[in-house]
């Protein structure tokens, strides 16, 4: 299945919105050091409402909330991308190798996949994180270790059917080399699946990082939206939630939404039964 991603994303309103949102957050994360004040500097100006110097006011220790919001985008982005890349890599490696090697190795991979599919991932991560308060990098690794099973299952099935498909035997009969087949056929054919599984992992990881930080499992050295929301919720009886809690939650939701929109758009492109018509 070869998909013209760009064309699809441009034509589909959901895809377009998702793409614009992701780019917006990427820019925000990239310019963080230039567009903000020191996000950790504590000042005597506490609980200030929004003003020109502090667009979203200040928190209980006088830190600029806007700066923290922008730096929080970096954490979400890092975890999303990190888990996306690592878990998709694991899924491809294990899924494709299981299909190609077969035998007892394939059996072991399938068993592990099936077992991991039924365990609630968040619960496993909470259990691990309770003992080893993970740094942001370790968190990426831990989430990835429990997030590859879904992708691996689909990739294995797809590789199995690809190996026997007509266009690949045709290419072989024309004398195509293995690397030609791999790069011109197998990888583009797996492409859409890899992209969707990447986007799913990103979305899940961003949600999990925020959720875990919200319940207090977080690298103390990073600024995280989940942590900000938890912190802000302590002061629900003051008016500060209007410019502290709500913008942070909205940013997190919009970021998660952007990945939902992208994956829905691409999934529709992949399933021709859904793709017809003008939905």
């Amino acid at each position: 299945m070869h998909i013209r991603y760009w064309e699809k994303l441009e034509k589909d309103p959901f895809g377009k919105t998702g793409l614009i949102l992701v780019i917006f957050f990427a820019v925000l994360a990239a310019v963080a050091p230039f567009a903000t004040q020191n996000p950790t500097a504590q000042t005597p100006l506490i609980f200030k409402p929004p003003s020109i110097t502090h667009p979203l006011g200040t928190n209980d220790v006088g830190q600029d909330i806007w700066s923290r919001l922008v730096w929080g985008a970096r954490t979400s982005f890092l975890v999303g991308l990190g888990v996306g890349v690592l878990s998709t890599l694991l899924a491809t490696l294990l899924g494709a190798s299981a299909a190609l090697i077969g035998g007892w190795y394939e059996e072991v991979v399938i068993r592990t996949v099936d077992a991991l599919l039924v365990i609630p991932t968040v619960i496993l991560v909470i259990l691990i994180a309770a003992f080893i308060t993970p740094s942001i990098w370790l968190l990426i690794v831990v989430i990835s270790l429990f997030r590859w099973q879904g992708g691996a299952r689909i990739i294995r099935a797809q590789t199995l059917s690809l190996r026997k498909s007509m266009h690949i035997s045709a290419a072989k009969s024309f004398g195509a080399s293995t690397s030609y087949i791999l790069f011109r056929h197998i990888i583009p054919d797996l492409g859409p699946i890899l992209v969707v599984s990447f986007i799913y992992s990103c979305r899940m990881a961003i949600f999990m990082e925020a959720g875990l930080a919200f319940i207090g499992i977080s690298d103390p050295s990073v600024i995280s939206w989940g942590k900000m929301m938890h912190h802000a919720l302590n002061f629900y009886y003051l008016d500060v939630w209007k410019w502290w809690l709500l913008p942070t939650g909205m940013a997190l939701s919009a970021f998660i939404l952007s990945f939902t929109l992208l994956s829905y758009c691409l999934e529709e492109a992949m399933d021709p039964r859904l793709g017809e018509g003008n939905a």
């Binding site: 068993r111 077992a115 991991l116 003992f131 080893i132 919200f214 929301m229 939701s253 829905y264 018509g277």
Partner: protein, 317 residues
């Protein structure tokens, strides 16, 4: 079927191994890692000797593992020195609230999601379908804990007509109808948050299946028979769109459990989710591990049940 049972057994085993290994990998005294800091306060030489004996900590690793599995098999989840009660007792006192919350949320979100999905898929491409689809997409972006916070802020803090937290009024001596009303008032916000968070997944799945089913030949046959529109929509297309939703109930349960965890924390709802949270804060490891084991066993058992029901629903498998 045998294969599935083995899968669940493997999944459970992975969890047990993690539960066993993690505290023992911690630097320092394994006793405090297994039992939390609280045990050190009450520690006497006799207690220490008894605990070392209980966990076979002076023996080889595999013997420790064997004694761990053996005590679990007897239903012994350990003792919480923070709560001063057996772990199983602590968990069972919190379980009913979580079951109430999760059960109702599953029912409501399934019913609403399926009906909306059927109606939306039937009218595919029309304005109502597009509006519903966009609305559901936006809703699915909101994490359950933010939905809970928004509901809490607007209905309990800003408007103030629903209680902020808990499952019932503390020290209240309400009886009969007033007691039930009190419980209901405390349940509304957490239940709404969890239900709203679960609707989009059900909706999207039903809508997609519905779109595919509507084009099937049996719909044409139903039309040719002269059946009414609503009969075709629900009895024929809709009913066949239920299958994937039912299969996913088991898988989705893990997601609902996670959602309930966050929602309970926000509303201080006294369920297992809140228990996990407090034991995490207090480093009450026995309760934390016990709750996580119980939750996983629950999820695995329901999955097994769904597999059995599915066999009845779809004789092809």
């Amino acid at each position: 079927m045998k294969r599935k049972v083995i899968n669940y057994a493997v999944a459970f085993f992975i969890l047990l191994v993690l539960n066993f290994i993690l505290p023992r990998l911690m630097p320092g005294d394994p006793l405090s890692a297994i039992y939390g800091e609280e045990v050190l306060v009450q520690m006497t030489p006799e207690l220490k000797a008894r605990l070392i004996e209980r966990f076979a900590l002076n023996k080889a690793l595999w013997e420790q593992f064997a004694s761990y599995i053996l005590s679990l098999a007897k239903g012994d989840l350990g003792y919480s020195y923070y709560q001063n009660a057996p772990v199983s007792k602590v968990i069972f006192s919190h379980l009913p609230w979580t079951l109430l919350l999760m059960g109702l949320a599953t029912v409501f979100s399934s019913v609403v999601g399926i009906i909306l999905g059927i109606e939306s898929g039937w009218r595919r491409g029309k304005l109502t379908d597009k509006t519903a689809l966009t609305g559901m997409m936006v809703l699915s972006g909101f994490p359950s804990f933010f939905l809970g916070i928004v509901l809490l802020l607007f209905f309990a803090v800003a408007l103030g007509f629903l209680p902020l937290q808990g499952a019932k009024t503390a020290y209240g001596k309400l009886t009969g109808g007033w007691f039930i009303l009190d419980i209901f008032k405390h349940l509304v916000l957490p239940l709404t948050a969890l239900t709203l968070a679960e609707i989009p997944a059900n909706y999207l799945l039903t809508r997609n299946t519905m779109i595919i089913n509507v084009r099937e030949p049996f719909i044409l046959t139903a039309r040719a028979k002269g059946l009414s529109d609503s009969k075709i929509r629900y009895r024929h297309a809709g009913r066949n769109s239920l299958l994937p939703v039912v299969t996913r109930i088991g898988i989705k349960l893990g997601i609902i459990v996670t959602g309930a965890l966050f929602v309970e924390i926000i509303f201080s709802y006294p369920g297992v989710g809140n228990l996990i949270y407090t034991s995490l804060l207090m480093r009450d490891y026995p309760v934390l591990q016990g709750s996580l084991i119980m939750v996983t066993v629950f999820v695995l058992l329901i999955n097994l049940g769904v597999d059995l029901i599915y066999k009845k629903l779809d004789p092809r498998t």
